[in-house]
Structure formats: structure tokens, C-alpha cells
């Protein structure tokens, strides 16, 4: 079913060449022990295979235990891991025959958002997603996945193209947020994101969205309105970065761990809150340790969603999409009849002879202008 060959989970752990995160240090020590044993074995200093086997088992169980209880802040670190698979990896493993389309035909080509035709599990789709870049050079070129307005406009242009030819849209979200810069503001980053939210809500074709790494606020949502929204197990999605939240609400960046907890930004919490539909499981030790298995899991989610959504009539789909958004965040209640809030200031609009200064002025302004007929 998938071109991504599944690797033995422990081989993937032992074969991992990336950096260990601070909280993963215990795993690193076991990993080093295994490497040492294997070297000694290679120098044929006796049969160490039993010892190696037991250390490998230890590595597997410790990794499993650690990764099934990540704190929200640890999740943030995993989601940002420099070796975490990016859209460009999934284009190699999950997408066949990717045909990239560049540019927004107005300003330029923003490499922070990639768009193009492709095939996923036999379905022709339009792929739209953030690209953070693999190495330093690429990362600088695409602003670490922080898109400018032209990136969002490029995405919208491609989504409209997809709708025209009945291609489902697949969005892969992976960004810290939209680019905060002068050019971004000058070219209307607010308007670009707003238009995407509005148009995606009524786009006449299925939309599937998966957060593959970071889901950073409006910059993520700008390509994140969909009929199915999923998150990789150890990705995160948040209204603001934990660092930003800590700086504003806790008045110190040091409180980012607490902020990460308060924000309920993990896949598990967001599933509970009804913000997302599906949690895509990650391989043992996270997607960065076994990109092949992560790819297979992503492909499975996309294949199932596309098959399911393509069976539905588009008008029904769009109607459901609206209802879903309409009910989003129904976290309010009416308090009529319940305890009254103490009103410390008269707030009733004035009328009659007891008019306020404001009302007087409003009345006077009106007298000087030509009256309009009441329709």
C-alpha cells in the first residue's frame, strides 16, 4: 500500500543519528551503550549478542515509557526537532508524481508555502503546505516556514484551481506562525489570512488538513480550515507560542513550560476539546526516529479521509463544514436568571429629555445633515 518501507522500530532507534533532546538523555546513554557493545562485538571480543539484545529491549521500553508521557513542553520540543520530517520528506514518501506550482501571480513565490498537484494513495490532489527547510541555507530561504501574504495568496489560488477540477485539497501545517515583518504588514498579512479563512470555508471541494509539526496560530489556521483536521501525536497546535504566552501573561519567558501546559496545545487535549478529529499515531520515539513509519501513518489517514470525503456530495460537505465551524468553541452559556453581574456604571442608552452629551451631539449632527428616508 505504501512505498515507505516500514523499518524495525528498534533498528530505527539504534540507527537514529540526530541530536538528543535534554529530556531524552537517559535514552542517549542506553543508545551509547549499545553502540559500544556493537563495536566490541565487531572487534570480536567475545559474544555480546545477549547483552546487546537486552540493552535493545531496554531502549525500546524506556523510549516507549518516555514518549507515552511527554509533557506539553516536551511535545513542543519534539514537534520542533531539527530532524522531524517535513513536507519535503512526505512529498518523497507519501505523494507520488508531485508537480510543484510556484508563485501567487501578483507579488512573487513564497517558498514558505509549497503548492502543487500530486497523487496520494491513488487520489489526485492539490497539496498545500508549509516548508521549514532542511538545512540552514534552505531554512533561511523559506524563513523557517513563516509565510508572507504571498504565500497565503498562492495557497488560495491553488485551492481555487483544485475546486475547479474537483481535486481534493490536502494541507500540511508546519509553521511557527506567519512572518512578522514590515513587508508582511505592508502587503496585508491580516487580509491574506482572513481571505483564506473565508474562502476555505466555502471552497467547493473536500479539504483535509494535518498538522505535521508546529501549528502556530493564525499562520497555521490560514491553510487549516478543513472537513477533516488531524494532528500527528507529538505535534502541537496553539493560539500563541508558549514563549509568547509566557512573556505576556506570566511576565517572564521562563514560564514557557507552565504556559505550554495551560494552553492545552497537544493532540490529545485538542481531540478532547473537539478542535481536531483525528490523532495520527507516531512511531516509537517520535516521527524523527522513524520517518518511514510516520509517512505510512500519514498516508493511511489521508487515504481514509480522501476516500470517505470523495463519496459525499460537495454541497453537503460544504454545509457540514460550515456547521462544524459554526459550532466551534461552543464554550459559552447563557446566564439569564443566574447570578447577576454587579453593574458599577449606568450603561443604558439615553433617550427622551434626559439625553447624555453624546446623544445631544448625535442629534445636532443629524439636524445639520440631510435626512434620509426610512426604508
Amino acid at each position: 500500500m505504501t512505498r515507505a518501507a516500514a523499518t524495525n522500530p528498534v533498528d530505527a532507534l539504534v540507527g537514529f543519528t540526530g541530536a538528543y533532546l535534554e529530556f531524552e538523555k537517559p535514552l542517549q546513554r542506553i543508545h551509547q551503550d549499545i553502540q559500544q557493545l556493537e563495536r566490541e562485538q565487531g572487534e570480536s571480543r567475545g559474544d555480546l549478542s545477549a547483552e546487546i539484545r537486552s540493552q535493545r529491549t531496554r531502549l525500546r521500553t524506556r523510549t516507549k515509557r518516555l514518549y507515552s508521557n511527554l509533557t506539553p513542553w516536551e511535545t513542543v520540543l519534539v514537534a520542533r526537532h531539527p530532524k522531524r520530517p517535513l513536507i519535503t520528506d512526505y512529498i518523497q514518501t507519501v505523494v507520488q508524481d508531485f508537480c510543484e506550482l510556484h508563485g501567487d501571480r501578483t507579488f512573487g513565490d513564497d517558498p514558505a508555502i509549497m503548492t502543487g498537484f500530486g497523487r496520494i494513495a491513488g487520489h489526485r490532489v492539490m497539496l498545500v503546505g508549509h516548508n521549514k527547510g532542511k538545512d540552514t541555507k534552505e531554512r533561511i530561504a523559506c524563513n523557517f516556514g513563516c509565510a508572507h501574504p504571498e504565500g497565503y495568496r498562492k495557497a488560495m489560488m491553488r485551492m481555487k484551481l483544485a475546486a475547479k477540477y474537483n481535486l481534493p485539497v490536502v494541507c500540511l501545517v508546519d509553521t511557527q506562525g506567519a512572518y512578522p515583518g514590515i513587508g508582511s504588514e505592508e502587503r496585508g498579512i491580516s487580509q491574506a489570512i482572513a481571505v483564506n479563512l473565508m474562502e476555505m470555508s466555502r471552497l467547493q471541494t473536500p479539504i483535509v488538513c494535518a498538522v505535521i509539526g508546529e501549528g502556530g496560530s493564525g499562520g497555521a489556521l490560514g491553510i487549516g480550515v478543513a472537513d477533516r483536521v488531524a494532528m500527528f501525536e507529538h505535534s502541537f497546535y496553539s493560539v500563541i507560542s508558549p514563549e509568547g504566552c509566557a512573556a505576556i501573561l506570566f511576565k517572564t519567558g521562563e514560564q514557557r513550560k507552565r504556559a505550554a501546559e495551560s494552553l492545552k496545545l497537544t493532540s490529545k487535549e485538542l481531540k478532547k476539546l473537539g478542535i481536531i478529529d483525528t490523532v495520527i499515531p507516531e512511531p516509537l520515539g517520535g516521527a524523527h526516529r522513524n520517518p518511514a513509519e510516520a509517512s505510512a501513518n500519514l498516508e493511511q489517514f489521508l487515504a481514509e479521509s480522501l476516500r470517505d470525503l470523495k463519496r459525499r456530495k460537495v454541497p453537503t460537505l460544504v454545509k457540514r463544514r460550515y456547521e462544524r465551524l459554526r459550532n466551534a468553541g461552543s464554550y459559552f452559556e447563557t446566564c439569564q436568571g443566574k447570578k447577576k453581574i454587579r453593574v458599577t456604571r449606568a450603561t443604558s442608552p439615553s433617550s427622551g429629555t434626559n439625553r447624555s452629551a453624546t446623544a445631544n451631539r448625535v442629534a445636532r449632527l443629524d439636524r445639520t445633515a440631510t435626512p434620509a428616508p426610512r426604508p
Partner: protein, 273 residues
């Protein structure tokens, strides 16, 4: 995406008989200031006003009929920073006499019936959580259902962090409502006031058929400090103001507060609504 600005200006709430205008330093008789719709008679500075005052300034006297007044947030995240969100809400409710950061309903503006929603910068910087999102959406839907123009006076520090992702999705919810109104052929007028920023700027506030802004209102997406830190240099003079947005094509007209009623009525008439 969130509040990253000074939350209060001293001149916001005229406390005593006299009010000092921050930009020009003039001391103005509070009643005169109110009569001038909280625009400094000396320098023309447009002070922030709360939602009730703003409503009174905009609608035909006595014509405002409030809707959805009893909605309150349920604190979906059980959020706590230095204080709990519940306490923060309670404090804001007691200080303002409002339940959340928006007042909405039906009114007449110079004889034209409208649906009106006014955000309240005096309430947690008019940040958008579920209640603001719900009332904006309901107002837009009501306008679509009854074929009325909808006027939204925006002012916001952005999404309400204390409601986490629940607040972020309000951006999509409100924008979807605008799409629905647009499909129904309804008229949507945005009046952007100080400050219209972040998650509100990047959703319904940028989607009006006509977008008018008050002079010198701060308008933008990212917080100025965040931008300054990213580009590692000073921001240009007048960056992220209504005038800046006009210059770059994202605001259609800048209208002084004293002319707002007239201008809104004019736009409604041109659109035949």
C-alpha cells in the same frame, strides 16, 4: 496572535470633571469631550471608547435593541496564569458591567435599520474568545437572514489566549459567517478603531465589503515588539496605523468619528440596502 500592546491608556476612562489628552497634553472638560464624541477638541485625537458609549455615538437615540446579552464564557481550558481566567473574567465584568468584550444587536443609523456589533476595548482588550466569536457570527447571520446591512466596530488585541485553540478557531468561524453573508448578497461594513490587530485583524475585520477606519487607529497583525525583534531594527514612523493601511490598500476610507454616522448611511444607500 494575541494581546501584545499597552492594555489601557490613561485617557480611556474620563474619571473626573476634567480629562487630560495624552497626545497634546490639553486638559479638557469631560462633558465637552463626551459631547465631541471623545475626540480631543484641541488636537483631534480619537480616544478609545467603551462599547456602550460607542453604540450611543453611532445609533439613532434610543434605537438600539440588544441581542445575545446573556452569553458568558465557560473557561474551556480551566486556564490559569498569574490569576485564573475565571477571576480575570470576573474582574473585567465588574469593572465594565459587561459580560464579555462585545455588545451587539439591532439599531437604526440615520433611519437605516442595521445589525450592529461593537467590540469593547475596555474588556480584556476586546480579545476574541467564544463569546465574541459567537456574537459576531450571530450578528452576521442575522444580517444575512433578515437582509440587513451589518456594521461591525472592531477593536481588539487579538485572540483570547486564555481560551487557547478555542479562541483561534473563532477566526475561522467568524470568517465563514462573512462568506455566508456574502453568498446571500448582504452588505458588511467594518469600522476599524484603535486597536484592530492580530486574530481579529486576520479574520472578520479584514473582510468588510467596505472597510473604514478611524484616524490613527493602530491596525496590524503581528505585535510591533515581535516585528522589531525579528527584523532587529526600529520600526518606521506611522507603521501599523490606519493611514499606513490606507496607503498600502487595506483600508478603503479613513473617517473622523464625527462623520461616521453620515458615512455609514451613505454607503448603505449606495449599496441599496
Amino acid at each position: 496572535m494575541a494581546v501584545d500592546r499597552p492594555t489601557e491608556k490613561k485617557s480611556d476612562v474620563p474619571a473626573g470633571l476634567w480629562t487630560r489628552c495624552d497626545p497634546c497634553g490639553a486638559t479638557v472638560y469631560s462633558k465637552d469631550l463626551a459631547e465631541n464624541l471623545h475626540v480631543c477638541p484641541e488636537c483631534g485625537f480619537h480616544q478609545r471608547v467603551d462599547a456602550r458609549t460607542r453604540t450611543e455615538q453611532l445609533v439613532d437615540p434610543g434605537s438600539f435593541e440588544e441581542y445575545w446579552a446573556d452569553l458568558v464564557s465557560t473557561d474551556p481550558l480551566k486556564f490559569k496564569d498569574r490569576i485564573t481566567y475565571k477571576d480575570r473574567l470576573k474582574k473585567a465584568q465588574q469593572a465594565t458591567g459587561e459580560r464579555d468584550a462585545i455588545v451587539a444587536g439591532k439599531a437604526y443609523i440615520r433611519g437605516r435599520p442595521v445589525v450592529l456589533a461593537v467590540m469593547n476595548p475596555a474588556f480584556i482588550m476586546a480579545s476574541m474568545g467564544s463569546v465574541v466569536g459567537e456574537k459576531i457570527t450571530s450578528a452576521i447571520e442575522l444580517a444575512a437572514d433578515e437582509n440587513l446591512p451589518v456594521v461591525i466596530v472592531t477593536a481588539s488585541g487579538g485572540a483570547r489566549m486564555q481560551e487557547g485553540m478555542v479562541s483561534l478557531v473563532q477566526m475561522a468561524k467568524t470568517s465563514a459567517a462573512v462568506a455566508k453573508l456574502d453568498d446571500a448578497g448582504g452588505l458588511y461594513i467594518v469600522v476599524a478603531t484603535d486597536p484592530t490587530t492580530a486574530g481579529v485583524a486576520a479574520s472578520f475585520a479584514s473582510l468588510g465589503d467596505v472597510i473604514i477606519a478611524e484616524p490613527a487607529a493602530m491596525m496590524g497583525f503581528a505585535g510591533p515588539r515581535v516585528i522589531a525583534n525579528t527584523i532587529k531594527s526600529e520600526l518606521p514612523e506611522g507603521f501599523q496605523t490606519a493611514e499606513f493601511m490606507l496607503e498600502h490598500g487595506f483600508v478603503d476610507r479613513i473617517v473622523a468619528r464625527l462623520d461616521l454616522r453620515k458615512e455609514i448611511a451613505r454607503i448603505i444607500d449606495y449599496c441599496g440596502k
